[in-house]
């Protein structure tokens, strides 16, 4: 489904590249973990998969078509949903409006369906009272659940997450791990998670380690 085709990335000079000649393939219905030390380039690699940046070499392909040709904005809108460590919700809105906005922006098939969004929030443990409050009044774990719910109401087939459990306690971490697995296996989406946490990596179907500018498959 999603393929990193001989991609490379560097900031100033190619000699100092974060990684080069990376060839990886990600399939729908599977979950993937990318692990590695801080500063190794995991998040940069994820931003390339999410269409937030362009590789310096090679290209990302979606079903055989370079995402550059689709247009990165269009790619983000229609094909990919992103979960960040710091949730990245619209802070002046309620959880419900965050979901409705995401559905509207991404032209989701459930666009405007308030009941669908509320149902999704309920499934993720957000009460009716909480879903109409300002999102900043929720705890970190609840905000991350809202962020995950946002990916679930959109039609994107690829879900990328950058350290989604980085700010969460153990209980919430476990909850989030379960949700991502459900997204991959029940909604048949391709889930790619950058993480430091062994539990998160262990829960995924496949793990890649980025070390010394190269990706290796973890056992």
């Amino acid at each position: 489904m999603l393929k990193a085709n001989d991609i490379g990335y560097w900031y100033d000079r190619q000699e100092n590249s974060l990684f080069e000649h990376v060839n990886l393939e990600f399939k729908s219905g599977h979950s993937y973990a990318i692990v590695g030390q801080s500063g190794s380039g995991k998040t940069t690699f994820l931003s390339l998969l999410a269409g937030l940046d362009k590789p310096r070499a090679g290209q990302i392909e979606l079903n055989g078509e370079p995402i550059n040709q689709l247009g990165l904005t269009n790619y983000r809108r229609s094909h990919v949903a992103i979960v960040f460590q710091s949730y990245n919700l619209l802070t002046y809105m309620s959880p419900l409006n965050n979901l409705l906005t995401a559905m509207a922006v991404t032209n989701s098939s459930h666009r405007g369906d308030k009941a669908f969004a509320m149902d999704m929030l309920r499934k993720l443990g957000i009460t009716d009272e909480q879903m109409t409050k300002n999102v900043q009044k929720l705890s970190g774990g609840q905000q991350q659940r809202v962020a995950i719910a946002r990916t679930m109401v959109c039609d994107a087939k690829i879900v990328v997450a950058d350290e989604p459990t980085g700010n969460l306690d153990e209980e919430n971490t476990q909850y989030v791990i379960e949700q991502f697995q459900k997204i991959a296996h029940e909604q048949h989406k391709c889930v790619i998670i950058v993480t430091h946490e062994p539990d998160v990596a262990a829960a995924c179907d496949q793990s890649y380690r980025l070390a010394k500018h190269e990706f290796t498959v973890e056992a």
């Binding site: 983000r76 809108r77 990245n88 509207a104």
Partner: protein, 486 residues
């Protein structure tokens, strides 16, 4: 159209910031509206002045040509002292001009003097040898203690038009008084001699057969205090000025003056067309004998004053609009910097950049709508205060400039030097004062209309659009990865 909803949610969620934005925008809109209102009011005042102030053409003897003729005569004949000979205006010539399309009405003026007989003229020190001043407009008369203003109608004379003289008892002279010996006298003269409407007075001509005429008092007028104090050297007391029909004044002057006038004043229907009327009038007269002069000074004073007010109002509008655009652009730039995170989230969701710019624009338009309502409520007050200040400055300037002409405050009270009205009339009761009329006319009627608000809305939208365009460079360059990940 989700950006409309986002704009609304943002404005309602951040109430404090929205109120501050509304206050800043309201202040800008208030001054733009005040400028627009003053500009529109100045336009209206100028067009009203066309109708109300009026302009005149005056047909009189061509003194310049007469002086030239006198000088050429003196160079050929050195035996006798040359005399200035001017021709009175023939009414038949005046009637030709009166038929022109731009002429609304006309009034003939004949000035002369006579001596009071059987009653006493008001005597003031220095005025005993005064009376008609010689050679001021064509006729040469001996002096008498009563100044006679022969007119077609008192109501069309400038003294009565500008209310410096008012009929207090009886009536004024009208066209129906042609051929009669009816007279209108000044109230002080009437009081001193115990005269009232219906009484008769006698005047003795100072020239020719020195005949005595009996006149019937049909009205008493009161000259304003300022007119009474405007007498110049050698003038009789203004209370000794009487009004008769021009035909009677001609009779006193002598038979050769029948069907003539010292001057004829034509009221031009549209002051803007006074030059065209003058050109057409000149084609109908012998310009070596007569001169046709214009007096649209009151109109020009109001027009110039309003042009200055309008020009200042224009500057207010543009300065405030430019300053407002800069202020709002800076505010929007700061606002956008503060909202980089939100923009990053929207970009990561795949929102088009133009829709993010549109969201900010819609937010500002919502602020603008409230601000226009506030400005509409306060605009009249600010416009009135600013307008009063501007008009008062302009009127002061206008008054000073009209009073600084040669012989300012001269007998006759006529600031225009284009009315050689024959003999000066006893210290200036009749005459006009352009600064007075300009003060009266140069008032701004400031009202907020729906059209003003629409115009303000247009300005506001332009300001908002420019502000957003100036500030949106940041949005167009913003990379979501830098905001959300790095």
């Amino acid at each position: 159209m989700n950006f409309f909803k986002r704009a609304w949610l943002n404005l309602t969620a951040k109430k404090g910031r929205s109120i501050l934005l509304i206050l800043v925008t309201s202040a800008i809109m208030l001054f733009v509206l005040a400028g627009l209102l003053i500009r529109n009011a100045a336009d209206t005042a100028t067009s009203n002045a066309k109708q109300r102030v009026g302009a005149t053409l005056t047909l009189s003897a061509n003194r310049e040509a007469a002086f030239k003729k006198m000088r050429s005569g003196s160079s050929t004949s050195k035996t006798s002292r040359p005399k200035l000979t001017t021709s009175p205006v023939k009414l038949s010539d005046a009637k030709k001009i009166a038929k022109l399309s731009n002429i609304a009405s006309y009034t003939a003026t004949v000035s002369t003097s006579a001596n009071a007989k059987g009653f006493s003229a008001i005597s003031t020190s220095g005025s005993s040898s005064a009376g008609g001043m010689k050679g001021m407009g064509g006729s040469t008369t001996s002096s008498g203690d009563i100044a006679i203003s022969g007119v077609t109608s008192t109501s069309t004379t400038s003294a009565f038009e500008n209310s410096s003289s008012k009929i207090t008892k009886g009536r004024g002279i009208t066209i129906a008084d042609e051929g009669t010996n009816n007279v209108v006298i000044e109230s002080e003269l009437a009081k001193e001699d115990g005269l009232k409407v219906g009484d008769s007075i006698k005047l003795k001509a100072t020239t020719g057969t020195k005949q005595t005429y009996t006149l019937k008092v049909v009205g008493i007028y009161k000259a304003s205090a300022s007119a009474s104090t405007q007498q110049g050297p050698g003038a009789t007391d203004p209370s000794n000025s009487v009004y008769t029909s021009y035909t009677f004044a001609n009779t006193v002057k002598g038979t050769k003056y029948k069907n003539t006038a010292d001057s004829v004043t034509f009221n031009v229907s549209d002051p803007a067309k006074v030059s065209a009327a003058k050109k057409a009038g000149k084609a109908l007269i012998n310009t070596s004998r007569y001169s046709l002069t214009t007096d649209d000074s009151s109109y020009q004073t109001v027009k110039a004053s309003m042009a200055n007010v309008k020009s200042f109002a224009d500057k207010i509008v543009w300065l405030v609009a430019i300053a407002g655009t800069i202020i709002l652009a800076l505010i929007v730039i700061l606002m956008i910097r503060e909202r980089r995170y939100e923009i990053g989230v929207l970009l990561s969701l795949g929102e088009a950049r133009w829709k993010i710019v549109a969201q900010f624009f819609v937010e500002m338009v919502m602020v603008l709508v409230v601000s226009i309502a506030i400005a509409g409520a306060g605009g009249k007050f600010v416009g009135n205060q600013l307008g009063k200040q501007l008009v008062s400055q302009q009127t002061t300037t206008g008054t000073m400039s009209t009073q600084q002409g040669p012989g300012g405050g001269a007998p006759g009270g006529n600031t225009s030097d284009t009315k050689p009205a024959g003999n000066m009339q006893g210290g200036g009761a009749p005459g006009s004062n352009s600064s007075m009329s300009s003060q009266k006319q140069a008032e701004l009627a400031i009202n907020v209309t729906a059209l003003d608000l629409v115009e303000l809305g247009g300005f506001g939208l332009a300001i908002m659009f420019l502000s957003i365009m100036l500030a949106s460079g940041g949005i167009l360059r913003l990379q979501p990865k830098k905001v959300l990940i790095e």
